[in-house]
Symmetry: C2
Subunit: 213 residues, 2 copies
DNA sequence: AGATCTTTCAACACAGGAGTTGACAACAAA
DNA sequence: TTTGTTGTCAACTCCTGTGTTGAAAGATCT
């Protein structure tokens, strides 16, 4: 076999899937997530290589393209998020409790999956403009997620545990905004713990910030 | 004078400031704002020129660089936003009423300054990574804005009109998130009016979404 | 009409980033 | 020791986007 043809060699290595190879690959993705989080979409593969202390060309032994790298990061974040939400939907809690659990799950997931989640939120707008099969699927999944939350809110209105004098589509956007905006300010070093952040958001969303008369 | 040296000629035209020139320049910025809103940071000057039905090189008669164009868009949005907030702070309303007014002002400003605001929010993260004098100032202004809101919230806690069992820094981020997230979903064609959106957000933030016992 | 200013544009130079090639060192296996 | 495999890298090619040049049409004034 030729010594080069890096693409073929990458695919072969991925096929075989030795632990060492996969570990290194995962390490690369994680490092890349951090760099992307820091530098945003202007990040170059040179930045990523530098962060890993390696050469730009070496990256191609593990990933096919810059875009593929971004996809790996985003997919990890999305999968995790969706799985958590589905579990909650199926649970037997009351609607307000479901919302509380949902907020908790999203905020904690955010903190745990910190750089990935950040990149996901920051990239999703750009992804929506693409038309690759992958992009279409990510958008579809995101839409499903929103639909799921909307379903919970409607259910609450129907059964009378949530106010029905407010348009549910706007309310759901307000909820997503509260949480997703974290990508702008949350850092692992933030003074409040993720638990405290989740509690605060749930309290406001469900009970409001004004003192009750 | 040489027929070229477009930079000098641009500066001269800007200096003289004929209405026709400034109008055309403003038109360019507005069109650019729309394109940037649509295509995000990947927008090329070619896209902008196409939207205007002109040639890429012609743009340089009105703006010095792509970055300068972006700055013009962002500055317009920021100036307007800050002015509105200051007026409210000085007003004589009660704290909860101030918050209601603030939310209203932000949401309505958002709708009115639609593409500019969108670009501002989308670019601010990138701007924060730059170190030009201009970038530093924008970040500083943004910080002041946040400080202003924080001040209102603290005042409310002190006087007892707002709950003081929640960390005010997280609360303020939740509030900003609710509103700023609009850049992801608000379009002029959105079914609910800006007034209705503002009312909904204020109701939730102040009173909560759960039905009172 | 002739001179002059305003606005546009085709063509170019330049820079930087993505992805590829072909080899090479290190280590393992035979 | 020879052979093969794994991971790395210097040196390309190719492409795309920015900003500049020099000139040429249109508009305006005299």
């Amino acid at each position: 076999m030729a010594s080069s043809g890096i693409e073929a060699r990458r695919k072969a290595a991925l096929e075989v899937g030795s632990a060492a190879y996969l570990d290194r690959r995962a390490e690369l993705i994680k490092a890349a997530a951090n760099v992307f989080r820091e530098r945003g979409h202007e990040t170059t593969l040179r930045d990523v290589a530098d962060a890993l202390g390696t050469e730009r060309a070496s990256l191609y032994y593990y990933i096919g393209s810059r875009e593929e790298l971004l996809q790996a990061i985003v997919s990890e974040a999305l999968d995790r998020d969706l799985a958590a939400a589905r579990t909650i939907k199926r649970s037997k809690k009351s609607t307000p409790e479901k919302i509380r659990a949902l907020i908790s799950s999203m905020v904690l997931g955010y903190a745990e999956y910190y750089p990935h989640m950040n990149v996901y939120i920051e990239q999703i707008g750009r992804i929506a403009r693409q038309e690759s099969a992958w992009a279409t699927e990510v958008i579809e999944e995101t839409r499903k997620y929103e639909e799921l939350v909307l379903g919970i809110l409607r259910q609450g209105q129907k059964e009378g545990s949530l106010r029905d004098d407010l348009p549910v589509n706007v309310v759901s956007m307000a909820l997503f905004g509260t949480i997703n905006w974290m990508y702008r300010w949350y850092r692992p070093s933030y003074p409040e713990t993720p638990e405290e952040i989740a509690r605060t958001m749930a309290e406001i969303f469900l009970g409001g910030f004004a003192v009750k008369p």
